[in-house]
Symmetry: C2
C-alpha cells in the first residue's frame, strides 16, 4: 500500500467512527493525532494548523502559508486539499469555512486553548468534544505493523536496562545514571527520550521523581523508569533494582509488586473492562496490607505517544480489545523510605496478554 | 529577594492585571506561564495540573497526588496552597471548587482542549479567554534580569554562528550542518534546542524548511535560523550565508533584506505600534519590487518561550514598551531559487532598540 493509501484509509476510518458517534467531523491539531492520521509533523506554535475530516468530503488541511511547502511533502498530501492562510489574516475564519454550520466536532486532546476558544467564538453554533472522550478507540487498537514497532521500542528499552545494570550505581548521582539511560536509549535507536526516572532510596517513594542530585548509596532501592520514541512508537518500562543485598522487607515489598504485576498480566483478555486490570493489581497489594501505598492507576495506553487511552483505572469501563497496547505498572511507595514499581508494556491478544518488555522481573542486585 | 517572594510578586502582579481586565481569575496550566509564575515544571500529560490565581485569595495549585512531592519543591511552593487529586477522582470537579461560580477566567494559551472542554462542561456558568488575548502584556515586558538572560542566550547563539561559519558547507548535507548547529548551541550553554533551520539553495525559499538530505553546493545561498533555551530563556537568530562568490542578484537581495531589517530596527521606540515595525520592513522590500516574496510577519516576542507576544504583524496595535523583547526578521523568498532572511532579537529601550544578536549582518562567504 502506498503512503497516500495507507493514511487515506486511516482518515476514512476516523471519519466513519466520528459519524457513528454523531459527530459532524474531526478537527485535528498538530501532535500525535495528526502524525497518526496523515504523517505530518509541523512545529507546534501559535500559528494555526488544522486537519478537518468530515463525512463525504475530501480531508482539508489548513496551514500557515509559509509552511505549505512542508505540508505538501506530508506522506498523506496526495489525499489532502491543502489551504494556506497568511500572517495577518484571521485563521479561525478560514477554518470556519471548512466546517459545517451546525453539529458537534471532535477536537484533538492537545489542541491549544488559544485555538479552541477562538474557534468557539467564531462558530457559536457548533458543539465540541475532546477526541479521546468522543472516540477513545481511535488510536487504541494497534495494527500488526504498529505492534511490531512497539515491540521493537520495547526491546530497545530492555537492552537499555541490561546495559544500565552493568554500570555502577553506588557513589553516582541519580542524574548521572539518568544521563546514561538517555544515552543508551538513543544508542538503541530512540529518536526521542521522554523520561528517565532514577528514584533512589527515599526518592523512589515519589513515583514521578525524575532524577536529582542525590548520591546513590549501598543499600538503596532504585526505581528506574524510562522510555521515549523509537521510529515513531513509544517505549516505557520500569524495574526496581537494589544496590547490594536487600533487607527482608525490601524483598517482600518487591515480591508483592511483582505478584500484583503478574496477576494483572494474567487478567488481560478481550472483553475485560480496563478497570478490572487495575482492581486485580490493587487487590493483591491491598490484601497484603499495602493498599494505601499504591497511589496511582495501574496503567496507560501507548502508541505514537507514551501516554494515551486506554487507561487501566477505576471507572474505565472500556473493554479490552485485541491489539490494545498498554502498561501494567503497580507500585508501592513508602514515604521517606523507598519505592518499588515494575512495569511492562503488554499487548492484548485473543488468548491473553503478550509482554513487549521481557527483562527479568526478579529483584536485580547492582553494584 | 527570596524565590518565594520573587514568584509571589509575579503572581500578585498577574492577579492585579487580571482584575483590571475584568477577569475573575487565571487558570494556568503546565508550560511557560506556569514556569514564569511559580517556577514549577511538571511533565505535561493528560493528568490535570492547574494553578488558580484569584484576587484576594492565596494561589491554589492543583496537582495529581503522585506529583505532590515535586510540586512541594517548586520555587514558589511557600506561597501556594497545594491540593492533590488521586487517579480515579474527577480532577475537574476538584478544580471547579477552587473557582468562583461566575465570571470570566483567563486560561493559558497552551492548555489542552481535553482539560478546557471538561472544565467548560463542569462549570457552565463561567466564561473563558485565552491568556495572551486577555492579557497580552503579562509576560511581554521583561525585567532587567530577564533581559540579561535573553542577552546571554543571544550571545551563545552568536558564538554558534561564528563557529558554524568556520566549518565547511559545500559537499555536506543540510542535516549534518543542522546537527552541528544543535551541538554548538548545547556547547554554548543551551539546555534545549528548538530549531536548526538549514535552507540551502531552493530550500531557502521555504521559510520554515528545517533541514533535509540536500547536499549543499558551491554557489548556494544558505539560510541558517536556529535557537532554543539557555538558562530558561530563548535565543533565535538568522543569518544567510553564501558558499563561494555570490552573483550580483544574490548580493542585491541580501542587501535589500539587510536594509529592511535595519529600517525596522531604527523604527523601534516606545509607543510605536507593533504593526508599524512590520510596515517599515515591508515597505523597504515592497518599494524594491519584492513585496510578494516577503511572505511572513516581521517578528515575534521571545522570553521563556521562543514565540510569544508581542507580534510584529499587520493588525497588532499594541504599543511598544521598554523591556519588550522580540525578533526583527524580514526575508525574501524566491520560489525554486533561494531565500534570504536576517534576524536579530532586540529589546525596546527608552531610546530605541538594542540588539541582543550582534554578529555581522553583511553577507558572509563560507566554504
Amino acid at each position: 500500500m502506498s503512503d497516500v493509501d495507507f493514511y487515506a484509509a486511516r482518515m476514512d476510518r476516523a471519519v466513519r467512527s466520528a459519524a457513528q458517534e454523531g459527530l459532524a467531523g474531526l478537527i485535528i491539531m498538530p501532535g500525535p493525532d495528526l502524525v497518526w492520521l496523515c504523517g505530518y509533523v509541523p512545529v507546534v506554535t501559535e500559528r494555526l494548523t488544522a486537519l478537518v475530516l468530515s463525512p463525504g468530503r475530501r480531508p482539508q488541511l489548513l496551514v500557515p502559508q509559509l509552511e505549505r511547502p512542508d505540508a505538501e511533502k506530508a506522506p498523506a498530501a496526495g489525499s489532502l486539499a491543502i489551504n494556506g492562510w497568511v500572517d495577518g489574516e484571521n485563521p479561525y475564519a478560514a477554518l470556519a469555512k471548512l466546517l459545517e454550520p451546525q453539529g458537534r466536532y471532535g477536537v484533538s486532546d492537545n489542541a491549544w486553548a488559544l485555538h479552541l476558544l477562538a474557534l468557539q467564538r467564531t462558530c457559536p453554533g457548533l458543539g465540541w468534544g475532546a477526541l479521546t472522550e468522543a472516540m477513545p478507540m481511535l488510536r487504541a487498537v494497534k495494527d500488526a505493523q504498529e505492534i511490531e514497532a512497539l515491540a521493537a521500542a520495547g526491546a530497545a528499552a530492555d537492552a537499555t536496562y541490561e546495559a544500565i545494570t552493568e554500570l555502577p550505581f553506588a557513589g553516582r548521582r541519580e542524574h548521572e545514571v539518568a544521563a546514561d539511560l538517555a544515552r543508551l536509549l538513543r544508542e538503541h535507536g530512540h529518536s526521542q527520550v521522554d523520561f528517565t526516572i532514577v528514584g533512589s532510596g527515599p526518592n523512589g517513594a515519589n513515583p514521578h521523581h525524575e532524577a536529582g542530585e542525590r548520591v546513590i548509596e549501598d543499600g538503596d532501592m532504585v526505581v528506574l523508569d524510562f522510555g521515549g520514541l523509537k521510529d515513531g512508537y513509544g517505549s516505557d518500562t520500569t524495574r526496581t533494582v537494589h544496590v547490594g543485598e536487600p533487607t527482608a522487607e525490601e524483598r517482600k515489598v518487591h515480591d508483592l509488586v511483582r505478584e500484583a504485576q503478574q496477576a494483572a498480566f494474567e487478567a488481560v483478555r478481550p472483553g475485560v473492562a480496563c478497570q478490572e486490570i487495575d482492581r486485580v493489581a490493587r487487590q493483591v497489594i491491598r490484601r497484603a496490607g499495602y493498599g494505601e501505598y499504591f497511589i496511582h492507576r495501574t496503567g496507560h495506553g501507548i502508541g505514537v505517544t507514551t501516554h494515551e487511552p486506554p487507561y487501566m483505572v477505576e471507572g474505565e469501563h472500556l473493554p479490552l480489545v485485541p491489539g490494545m497496547c498498554f502498561s501494567i505498572e503497580p507500585g508501592i511507595y513508602l514515604p521517606g523510605r523507598f519505592g518499588v514499581r515494575i512495569e511492562d508494556i503488554v499487548v492484548c491478544t485473543d488468548s491473553g496478554a503478550r509482554r513487549l518488555n521481557n527483562t527479568e522481573r526478579e529483584l536485580r542486585i547492582v553494584r
